[in-house]
Symmetry: C2
């Protein structure tokens, strides 16, 4: 398995990307192709003292930034570190793609350069989020600002297969994000999607409210990309609130500082539970090849886990294609 890894994506590039690649080739049965400025990568590899067995470099010019128009990935930036990784996957030189760079550019590149799977209306940015008792998947996290009901149903099918096959969740429960649990709640989008989801080949449990996925009342939560993006950034904001509150809590006085020392294990457990590094990255579901977005602040462990996830993802691309085909067939029957 060969993974194209954007060496210049994320806040800690290229060092943590290179170290992540080194961890991956040491622990997993993979080859990693680092894309980006060859001179810089080689110099950092030497400085970091990294073993290069199963690591190759594909030279690329420049970087696409978060501030850049994501469409540039198809044009003037097509030979940048992320663009080159897309080219490698498109040409078959690599089997999967991992980057911690611009999410918007990754969505454009995945959709336009790799291409949608047959039958898929729109690929979804599928984020894995920590709940009280484990991870759940939210999609769409922002790739499609406006959605039609049938897109939400496809998101449900793709998310279910990913959660079942890769996250090992048995018969994943799919919820529709809404403003009440009763049938008939929400906008026209939710009302129509509810009906269609009920007849789809997945374990639809009905409407869920904003607080429910966090309590792990479902495994997959489907919504349009606007609501999904607001949702995930709100969760992120509250996560920061939690962290800053904990810091404040333990720094109140000498007593609380000792309290911290005594509670360290609990704090560590909590940190681990909400640690995005454990899960690796978030897949773009509905494109022909595995595309994984690693968290912007990924370190080597996060990159290694994103690569691990990409490897598993390669094995279920076919099943997602089959799932979408079955859904389309069912629709034609009716």
């Amino acid at each position: 398995m060969r993974i194209a890894l954007d060496a210049f994506g994320g806040d800690n590039a290229p060092d943590k990307v290179i170290l992540g690649a080194a961890l991956a080739v040491a622990e997993l049965d993979v080859e990693v192709i680092l894309t980006g400025d060859e001179k810089i990568i080689n110099s950092r590899i030497r400085q970091l003292g990294v073993q290069t067995k199963n690591i190759t470099i594909k030279h690329a010019d420049g970087i696409i930034n978060i501030e850049d128009d994501p469409m540039l990935i198809r044009k003037s930036k097509k030979n940048c570190s992320m663009g080159m990784a897309f080219q490698l996957v498109d040409s078959g030189e690599a089997d999967a793609f991992v980057s911690a760079g611009s999410t918007a550019a990754l969505v454009v590149g995945g959709t336009m350069l790799i291409g949608r799977m047959k039958g898929v209306k729109r690929p979804a940015y599928a984020t894995l989020m920590p709940g009280i008792n484990g991870y759940y998947m939210l999609l769409d996290g922002g790739a499609n600002v406006d959605c039609r009901p049938e897109m939400l149903v496809q998101f449900g099918v793709m998310g279910s297969i990913f959660m079942q096959k890769i996250m090992k969740v048995d018969n994943p429960r799919v919820g529709l994000l809404n403003i009440g649990t009763e049938r008939g709640k929400g906008r026209e989008l939710e009302q129509k999607a509810y009906e269609t989801l009920q007849n789809a080949p997945l374990n639809f449990i009905g409407n869920v409210e904003g607080r429910d996925p966090i309590a792990n009342l479902c495994d997959v939560v489907v919504t349009d990309g606007f609501t999904g993006n607001v949702y995930l950034k709100t969760v992120e904001g509250m996560g920061r609130f939690m962290k800053s509150s904990l810091r404040e809590l333990f720094s109140t006085n000498a007593g609380t500082k000792i309290g911290y020392l005594l509670s360290k294990k609990g704090v560590k457990n909590l940190s681990k539970k909400t640690d995005y590094r454990e899960v690796g990255g978030s897949p773009l579901l509905g494109v022909k090849k595995p595309v994984i977005k690693a968290h912007g602040s990924s370190d080597e462990k996060a990159f290694k886990n994103a690569i691990k996830q990409a490897v598993s993802f390669c094995k279920v691309i076919q099943e997602i294609e089959t799932g979408i085909a079955e859904l389309s067939a069912l629709k034609e029957e009716n």
Copy 2:
């Protein structure tokens, strides 16, 4: 000032409602009219040993539940405890309304029984939410599933006046909830609302993302009722996650339990910061009289603070009307 208080609204009714009324008349210059079954209220007043000076009772039959069709507040349930409180405000026997009962029924009753202010397109359910450094206001929290851009602008004007006059925030910063901070982001709703907000008589700071209000980067955040409701329930879900994590953190072992004892002050500070009881309730903005929704799990302190908020609210109803009139005049000029 006379406040109509729904004695049977909320999880802790009627006891905590009665005790809240008692606290209010003792501490504030108000009269409270409790609505609900007279026999039960009188019996609980005796049992609780409450002083009844400045507390009167207006008999009402039954309760409107969260599961009930909210429209019933206009028909078969118009004489229930919440319906009677609306009648008292409508007839002028009371100056303001407080209930911890069904939010949906309160929105219907406020809009239909009390009526919209002149010029207001749609009243908004305006929730006061705790951020890292203090409260901010989110509206609409769910009264209007679909919104037009001009409604969002009215929400901004009304929210600003409330935050300035009642929450004492100088020149409140108004943000538009969106999926990116750049102009042009979002759906057609956000794109159009952005333009209109820029020309409105308020301190518009542009788009904000889900994480921003929590970090107090704005004082008023405007959005449609669908997105707003998902947002506030997500914040609630993460708040519960925070609490359960803290509990777990401190119960890991004997050391962490001692850690808790030493950190108690910090935990209390944090609890106080996120305590909805401090703020009282959430106003329905855009109706002719002050309507306050108290939190469903309000205790006596929360009810007292909701009554206190209702008293302040009475004094700014006129200013909100003026704000809406000025906005309408500005629109006609252009």
